[in-house]
């Protein structure tokens, strides 16, 4: 059996886009009745900014989840990346490229460690990445009490605040990364192998896929995506922030976005486009609640309900298909 035949034969529109359209329509109406305007310039821009940060992480997360793995260390990789970026730049425009390079190298290193633990040492992905996350947390807690370093002004300008019409440059970056990930998944050998490994590792191995190599690559890419998110956040905040990843719940939210986007948590089924839908859905709910001035804590309650409900709906569909 070739890896190709393991791909789903038809690709239907992920349910997340239906949910997204409904949410936006209802949200727009409710906000309108409330005397506001959902799609004005400032809400759209801030919605896209929220989506850009979470989206970069979630696209990476999609890759590892598709492969049947998981990455809980992304939140700490993000925090670490903001610090590496801001401290390397230290406010000088000349150091932007070396800083970005260093962030990518550091985050790729963390991803490599995750990947090797999961494949070579056969550590359960949940525990492996949690362990690596805790290692990083200790380093961050021990070394930093608050913001450190200064992001280069040119990068703050370009990536943090520059936009084309209502679309921030950072969101364009997300689109580019998503397009690259989509291409890798659907048009390259790596992508097909990754889906095969996530679907059934044993079958993939017997079909000649080098499971370990594929999974390690996915982990490295996932961490690099988190690194990119870190660079973006550093340019947004103007400095490195040792707690930004955990306080933003980027680990759990990115996994939630992936799952809402229709990717199976067990791997082998799904894709990055759905994930971006999930990210925009989460960001839209945020924007709508902000417009309605709903209590921040109530938002979190609703978020929890939505995540569970979305997955329950997918599970129901899968059951019906199987029956």
């Amino acid at each position: 059996m070739s890896a190709l035949s393991l791909l789903p034969a038809r690709r239907s529109v992920p349910g997340v886009f239906v949910a997204l359209t409904l949410t936006l329509a209802i949200g727009w109406l409710v906000v309108l009745l409330d005397g506001g305007q959902l799609f004005n310039q400032s809400t759209t821009v801030s919605l896209l900014h929220v989506a850009a940060g979470l989206g970069l992480v979630a696209v990476g997360q999609t890759l590892v989840i598709l492969g049947g793995s998981l990455d809980l260390s992304v939140a700490y990789v993000i925090s670490l990346s903001t610090l590496v970026a801001a401290e390397t730049m230290n406010g000088s425009d000349g150091a932007v490229l070396p800083a970005i390079g260093l962030v990518l190298v550091v985050s790729a290193g963390v991803g490599l460690l995750n990947g090797l633990l999961v494949t070579r040492f056969r550590v359960n992905a949940f525990i492996a990445t949690l362990g690596v996350g805790l290692l990083l947390k200790g380093y961050l807690d021990n070394g930093y009490d608050g913001p450190a370093g200064t992001t280069a002004p040119s990068l703050v300008q370009a990536l943090g605040y520059q936009r084309v019409g209502p679309v921030p440059v950072s969101f364009l970056l997300l689109i580019a990364v998503t397009a690259a990930a989509w291409f890798a998944l659907s048009r390259t050998r790596f992508g097909h192998h990754l889906v095969a490994v996530g679907g059934d590792p044993e079958v993939a191995r017997l079909s000649g896929v080098r499971n370990d190599r594929v999974l390690v690559t996915a982990h490295v890419l996932c961490s690099m995506c988190a690194g990119l998110a870190g660079i973006y956040l550093a340019s947004r905040l103007g400095s490195g922030a040792p707690r930004v990843g955990t306080e933003g719940l980027y680990d759990l939210e990115s996994i939630a976005a992936v799952v809402i986007g229709g990717t199976a948590l067990a791997g082998g089924r799904g894709g990055v486009i759905g994930t971006v839908g999930g990210v925009v859905l989460l960001a839209s709910i945020d924007a709508i609640f902000n417009q309605l001035e709903v209590d921040a804590f109530f938002k979190q309650v609703i978020r929890g309900v939505i995540i569970i409900a979305a997955v329950a709906v997918y599970a129901r569909r899968a059951m019906r298909k199987a029956a």
Partner: protein, 327 residues
Amino acid sequence: MQTVQPRSLPLRLPRMRPGGVLPILAILAVLLVLVGIRQPDFLAPQSLMSFLGRSAPIILLAAGQYFVIVSGEFDLSVGSLVTAQVVVAARLIDSDPSRTWPVVLLLLAFGALVGLVNGLITTRLRVPSFITTLGMFLILVGAVYLWSDGAPKGGLSEEFRRFGRRAFEDVPLLGRVPYALLVLVVLAVAAVLLMRSDFGRTLVAVGDNPRTAELSGVRVWRTRTFAFILSGLAAAVAAILLGGYSGVSFQAGAGLEFGAITAVVLGGVALGGGRGAVVGAMLGALTLELLFALMNFYGVSGALRSTVQGGIILLAVAVSATRSSSR
């Protein structure tokens, strides 16, 4: 638990059964020796008793988490449940001693209810427990902040707090025995007995192979839901002890879910279910606490706790994984 291991190769030399408690006992012994060298006073009955009392909440949480993990699921909501319980208790008691017992009962019911909801969503709606309990985590944290407008209100009565901070004084030989330790011993014995009962065996069978269990007439969903309820109850007891010991804050339960999972894994319990002993999980929690105490004695910065915790998890799991994968 005496799970059958049909796949082990007869050719291999006798070795420790995966999921046995021997490795964790060995680690615990080594740590005790290290502590004894550095701080001999620590091993005096008095301080040992109070250390065990302080560790009671995390040990109970580890036992609760064990039930869920051995049945093949996860419970990420326990940390937020502990926080919610402590904050709810403070607000409801509002420093009125006469409300202590009703609130204690209410907390236990609340814990069981959260467990029931987690269990039903996971088993009946087929939502992966990772997502169910993560959603529950968000809901509980949000709800508790919402309900208290962002700052804990009210206060715990002295009556309530005594479970976590008082002790039987002047016990012969042992000196001072904290109430928390007594609660721990009783519940630990109950947990061991439970795992030896039919229910315990069923729970492990469900975690080992749900399909087989289902075919042999086990109602898998009921068994798993019950495991979640036990985890919720454990969180309620842990919250009562923790609230008494360290008071009311939104940070009361922060990170406890990962602490409990670490402890369970350290105790030789396999993630994915079907292997490991509840005693191992509880010893794992004790070992973790002892390790933190040891770090304290050696003057290691508290900020490095998580690094050490992370290193240990990775080491423990990597060692056991490479050992069992060579089967």
